[in-house]
Symmetry: C2
């Protein structure tokens, strides 16, 4: 098993019929969640914000195909009803059911369909490779592959499945992540650790967690593995989230390349993050990467509009990683070899490292290239 | 004559050889300018920031094909040298020469080429339709048409030429505008009027003035028409800038449609502007417009992440203008007729009007759709 079902106490199943999928994950335990900060929060998000306050969950239900967003009070009631189906099937407290939705905005849920799907798959939930595969597949929308992560540490595991694919900007690209651990942990520690890990991973992918109407990452800790060192858990959670975040970036709508932007020498981490994300979001950087065009000027120009103060004449910029690193700018001086730079763009991953020469802080952001295919996918989404 | 040469005292000419163009405009008078706020200001911008302090100009020289950006002290010296060519040709004070550059970043100017082009066209400057056409054509890069505007009022005129075309985001899309009036005006008033007009026009196109390394708008007042009412001049300048701004939006790289976003009912103009620009910038809105896909949920979702507080359950949204207005959302309730909404997207201009129901302020932003062609243009720019 390569993700959630490797964690003791986690059973799952999924079903996909055309555009409409449903995933059930049954796992009792301490729980925490992070949400979109978009003002237009979808009803399922509003419901989860309330429910997560109790610090525990018994199961999660997620539908794909309809975001149940911008659907007002009726949408909220529909979310409550949808969660109720799981409670009935598993005979658990309705208040302990977590919920997520992804898909088109401004349409109501097809509740009869969801009820039928839920009743069909609830008896099937199990702890198996097939179960986690179906669970990850059924929450996909424009995703081209299912996202799994598993981090195994001495005595405990952290694992997750995720969906997320639209990503040209920190925009409407719904990202859902369901993470499980068998570590035993207090709700407040779990919340802090999840928040910190999300900030450094999901929120640094250019589909970032704070702008869709429906984004949510939930972590449930079953406690089956007993107490663990808090630092170890934090590091495992960070690694699990990073793996899912990078998979989401790779699967950016229409993307052919992963872009990694590392900013070093920043006065503080938040400045480093701001610069890294501004570069990763730049449509001109994204199109240049797609075309393998070593137009590195766009990278420094994007940095210059990030709202962070630094001296353009002292920055250094490289492309590539490991043995293939090529210098583009050294302390403000252009030293680029365009042929080598072009070569460094040929692979599936393009790395730019920018040293601001202003301090010791650093941050990494991930994105993907912008292609004709993105336009095609998003130009005809509802029709 | 349809632009600058309609203004008394303005002579111009231009030359374009392959990617490399040069425009000269000879006009003595009071002058003001607005600039990019990008930290990575190109050397020609740094030079102009100093020169404009004297409040007058004698001529302007603009090259296309090389932005002379990120070229350090050598780039700055090159800008001084380039301006010197015009001073020699026209026998004017070198300090009175304005300058602009647009094109690829991180490359040095080809000074021998610019010198030759300057010496070739300096004797040709004149006040004619052909002159203003050549001047506007020679500053184009990926522009598909030259931008001209002329506003004639009782006793005076305001006219301009502009270039600008890359525009998926407030990004690296260099915008240059050269505006002339024969009104007589004090440098400080001209500066205030130009700034105000730019803020409501150029800075509301999604290629906005504050983020490229090379953006500049210069206005020179020859004074040939004598004193005018300040309010009249302001309104004519605003109209001239708006016309140029909309032409820039229409000519967005790869664009097929102009997008106009009107936000009303805002608590203040700056909030209205923020929401309007966030919507106009959204790649998902832009692709939906391209595909004529009435996915209006993306419009409200973009509004929700603009950083402005409002009640999503009270907003109203329409599509279309004049007799073809269609309601999508009325005070938070979905009232869309998808077929009518789709019809409203069929033309060359798509208008969304969003009423936030929070106050009386309003603002308009302009953008364009995002197409496969944009990706093609920007994926292979330097090569």
């Amino acid at each position: 098993m390569k993700s959630i079902c490797a964690v003791e106490g986690v059973n799952a199943w999924g079903i996909k019929e055309g555009k409409f999928g449903l995933t059930l994950i049954q796992a009792e335990g301490t729980a925490a969640a992070v949400f979109t900060t978009n003002l237009m929060k979808a009803p399922p998000i509003r419901l989860m914000e309330e429910r997560i306050k109790r610090g525990s969950l018994g199961a999660v239900i997620v539908n794909s195909g309809c975001a149940n967003a911008y659907t007002g009070n009726r949408g909220y009631e529909d979310s409550v009803t949808m969660a109720g189906y799981v409670a009935d099937s598993f005979q658990i407290d309705p208040e302990s059911v977590g919920i997520g939705s992804t898909g088109v905005i401004g349409r109501y849920l097809d509740l009869p369909l969801i009820k039928r799907q839920c009743e069909t798959i609830a008896p099937l939930v199990e702890r198996s490779a097939k179960a986690e595969e179906l669970a990850a597949n059924s929450i996909m929308t424009t995703d081209t592959f299912a996202k799994h992560a598993l981090v195994q540490r001495d005595g405990f595991s952290v694992a997750g499945i995720a969906k997320g694919s639209g990503m040209i900007a920190p925009n409407m690209a719904t990202m859902l992540a369901f993470i499980y651990t068998d570590a035993e942990v207090e709700p407040s520690s779990l919340k802090t650790s999840l928040k910190s890990a999300s900030n450094r991973t999901f929120n640094r992918v250019v589909v970032d967690g704070d702008t869709s109407t429906n984004d949510i990452a939930i972590c449930t800790a079953t406690g089956a593995a007993g107490k663990t060192n808090q630092k170890d858990l934090e590091s495992a959670l960070l690694e699990c989230c990073r793996s899912l975040a990078i998979q989401i970036a790779i699967d950016g709508e229409g993307a052919t390349k992963l872009i990694e932007i590392e900013v070093t020498g920043a006065p503080d981490e938040s400045s480093a993050e701001k610069v890294a994300k501004t570069i990763a979001e730049s449509p001109l950087v994204k199109t240049a990467v797609y075309g393998e065009d070593p137009n590195w000027g766009r990278v420094v120009a994007a940095a210059g509009r990030a709202g962070v103060n630094f001296d353009p004449d002292r920055v250094s910029l490289t492309i590539g990683e490991g043995e293939t690193v090529n210098e583009l700018v050294r302390e403000g001086e252009i030293v680029v070899d365009l042929n080598l730079a072009k070569k460094a763009m040929a692979g599936k991953k393009v790395v730019f490292s920018l040293d601001l020469a202003e301090g010791d802080a650093h941050a990494i952001a991930w994105g993907c290239d912008l292609t004709e295919k993105y336009v095609e996918i998003n130009g005809r989404y509802t029709t």
